[in-house]
Symmetry: C2
């Protein structure tokens, strides 16, 4: 089959493209062709046996959605988005890309008779906003507290409606916060969740800007790719009208993250973390969800890590080329 | 203040304009000017002391939203919509008017520095879809089962976000099914809820296409205008992020509607109703909500009728010029 990845230059998009290239398939289905689209050229270092096409385009621009589907990909992964901070700072841009871009894709598909691709839509935990129950179920009401969360919630509603009309076979994936992100710290308020682990694992100092009892919902980059692989070929006939769901993950406090680091990398790694409270980050994080009931996704076969130690070990394997068994025994 | 009514040619829009013209105020605030907008010329027979402007325009067309707010109305009532049946039959038109038209209005307001009008957005019970709890609370998750319901739910999310950013002071009103609608029966699946009462009250025969145990949520046209009047000047400081809510109404079965008709108009009126089952209408109505918990709207001061008899009496007063006390004693 043909796969199109929109937002292929991002971290999850690159990892997904690499995984498809390496295995030659997704969810057990052979992939003959792959189209990679992003606003910057998706430079994926892959050795792919099939037909590979990549282009730079903005889904919200006229005609782009039609071009994305011109080869009728059977499987479309829509990861492109203006992220939370930028969507808040630049309201018009966020609505244009996150809402209008998503709608343009669905409208372009609707305009083609008999075309009914599977569409994976990247949604977010922030379709939910505080106050929260102890565990947020999939049928909790949508209460976004940011423009980004609003746009993602609107995209979920679109996906449900276009799936109900059998224009697409949609699955909306609410990603946990991905941890440990490879690379450098960035300006996202959530950056510290990865950097307090990644930097010490690389022998560098890290700053913790919040209290250790801050709790959040996590999964590894490998789990993020696994969700999409599962969604590629799962049976969607039992989804009914509700096509979007929170993915399984690990609910952990910052303190639990640090204890997992200690188990994997020892006291020396933990000693590299300095607590430097940042009231601004603390107040942003206070509105974030902490724990989810993902029984629906689990029943449908989605999987993630079961402990934070596992999340750290996956970073060592995938990003540092280490064998986990070895390191875990240190 | 200046009031703009978008969708002023519809039943609620006309009644609202007439009410403002008659009283010269809304919610206790003097109205100096009124702008009426619709896709057909809003022909409101009113004797209004203030400045009155009316024009034909489609909010989703470029430039129209900017024109609607060119005089900076402090109070905007957005009632314009492609209704449920048409939005289902013509998907593109429904999204264009109901989603893009609404967004165009909010974007036009955002483009004007220092302008912060109160915006009343007409939403609908069908942002909720079956299965339902016994009473649907305001924090029930949005599960629309139609494109119209999807568009209304998306409009609610927009209104929340644009209110959070202090671009508008929005209130989303989920209207009950308005009963008794004046005029002729129409092709809406809900038409019979009014016609089984209206036709007998006018000495004409009526057809009941569903079972008598069908339950639904109702309010009078007079209550619909009252919601908007209350929303015009209420204190919105306690609404928080959730700007939309279901309005108070009367939960009644068709059997209870008919018994209320008997109380008001006697056995002769009831005898004019023939039960002719229609499987298509029955199946549509089966997915509709039946009962709501509107404690939030009640606490905020919204009011509706307390019985179906009251709803019928209001029709007699407002549409047939009768004194209720007199008729109720028959």
């Amino acid at each position: 089959m043909r796969v199109a990845i929109i937002g292929a230059a991002g971290m999850i998009g690159r990892k997904l493209a690499e995984r498809i290239a390496t295995t030659g398939q997704i969810g057990g289905q052979r992939v003959d062709a792959m189209t990679l689209i992003d606003v910057i050229l998706p430079e994926v270092a892959i050795d792919f046996a099939g037909v590979r096409d990549a282009f730079v385009a903005d889904l919200a621009e006229p005609g782009v959605a039609t071009r994305v589907i011109s080869e009728r990909p059977e499987f479309i992964v829509h990861l492109a988005a203006i992220v939370s901070g930028e969507a808040e700072a630049n309201m018009a841009k966020g609505y244009r890309v996150n809402l209008e871009g998503t709608h343009a894709l669905l409208q372009a598909i609707a305009a083609v008779d008999g075309y009914h691709p599977r569409v994976i839509y990247a949604s977010s935990l922030v379709v939910f906003g505080a106050p929260f129950p102890a565990q947020i179920p999939d049928d909790y009401h949508l209460t976004p507290l940011t423009s980004y969360g609003t746009q993602k919630a609107m995209g979920e509603l679109l996906l449900n409606d276009y799936s109900r009309r059998a224009i697409v076979d949609g699955i909306g994936i609410r990603f946990p916060t991905i941890c440990i992100r490879p690379g450098k710290p960035n300006k996202a308020a959530s950056s510290f969740f990865s950097s307090i682990l990644r930097e010490p694992l690389n022998g560098e100092k890290a700053i913790l800007p919040v209290a250790k009892d801050v709790r959040h919902w996590f999964a590894s980059p490998r789990a993020a790719v696994t969700y999409i692989e599962h969604a590629a070929t799962m049976d969607t006939s039992h989804l009914g009208g509700q096509r979007c769901m929170t993915m399984p993950g690990v609910s952990a406090t910052v303190g639990e993250q640090i204890e997992a680091l200690r188990l994997v990398a020892g006291d020396g790694a933990v000693a590299l973390i300095s607590q430097v409270p940042d009231a601004n980050i603390a107040s942003i994080v206070a509105g974030w969800p902490r724990n989810f009931d993902t029984v629906r996704a689990l029943r449908l076969g989605f999987r993630a890590e079961k402990s934070f130690q596992e999340i750290i070990e996956i970073y060592l394997e995938d990003e540092m080329g280490e064998h986990v068994g070895q390191r875990a025994l240190r």
